[in-house]
């Protein structure tokens, strides 16, 4: 019946998650959501790392994943901070409405 789950399954899952996250970044107007999408992408990476570390019987992958999470946190924090600063000046969080700088 159900044949065993291979690492590839995880990788494909990661790829799918990455794709969804990417779509979010590309298509959503709301910047907060875009940040969330980026979180999704990083999670995809984590799935890969865990799968690998499992497959290799190491923990290095997990440690790597911890750092990825840390970075994700840091980025999110700073990103939200900047977003707030922007919101103060511009009263919008729609990605396609911030196009002062172009050409």
């Amino acid at each position: 019946m159900l044949h065993p789950v291979t690492t590839t399954h995880y990788l494909v899952l990661g790829a799918a998650l990455l794709a969804i996250g990417t779509i979010g970044v590309l298509a959503r107007r709301n910047i907060v959501v875009i940040l969330m999408a980026i979180e999704l992408m990083l999670n995809a990476v984590n799935i890969n790392l865990i799968a690998f570390s499992r497959y290799l019987g190491q923990v290095q992958g997990q440690v790597f994943a911890i750092f990825v999470i840390t970075v994700a946190v840091a980025e999110a924090a700073v990103g939200l901070g900047i977003l707030i600063a922007l919101f103060r000046n511009k009263e919008t969080v729609q990605a396609d409405e911030i196009d002062l700088l172009k050409w």
Binding site: T8, T22, I23, I50, V59, A76
Partner: protein, 168 residues
């Protein structure tokens, strides 16, 4: 064995559903909620892969930490009206198309390279508990990036403070 398989598909389904909802919900709050769902799914996968420590981190840090932050911000820049706006930008069809294309390509590539990762039982069963192993690696092999991460966080804090604080 088949239980693992079952759980894998379960968590995978949860994760993907959460992810899709995150990207598609009109109201950011709903998006945040669905993101939590996705993260939990991922956490489940971690558990499935014997990464207990990471599972904990995922739950505590993400779900407990970041999501709060997100929601906080969402409230701060109150987005009731944002909820009523168009949620996708003009290029979304194009974006969707080419992301799917890339995804397909990636998957194809992975499938072709899959030979590298036939699933096998882990070479040796973990001697100690996962947490010890992680801690050992973290403080021996990865001490340097660990220290570095602290500085990174410091920078992030400073940044958050600078950005968020009202102009004096």
């Amino acid at each position: 064995m088949w239980l693992d398989t079952l759980f894998f598909y379960l968590f995978a389904a949860v994760t993907l559903t959460g992810a899709v909802l995150t990207v598609t919900r009109r109201n950011p709050v709903h998006s945040a909620m669905s993101l939590i769902l996705a993260l939990i799914g991922v956490a489940g996968l971690f558990l499935l892969q014997k990464a207990e420590f990471l599972f904990a981190v995922q739950i505590v840090l993400y779900v407990g930490g970041i999501m709060v932050l997100f929601l906080f911000v969402i409230m701060l820049v109150n987005l009731d009206q944002a909820a009523r706006l168009r949620q996708f930008n003009r290029q979304w069809v194009l974006a969707l198309a080419c992301v799917l294309a890339v995804a397909a390509e990636v998957v194809y590539v992975l499938a072709r390279g899959a030979g590298a990762f036939r699933y096998a039982a882990p070479a040796e069963a973990p001697r100690a508990g996962n947490v010890e192993l992680v801690a050992d690696a973290l403080f021996k092999q990865y001490l340097l990036p660990f220290e570095l991460a602290s500085i990174l966080l410091l920078a992030a804090i400073v940044g958050g403070v600078i950005m968020a604080r009202k102009r004096s």
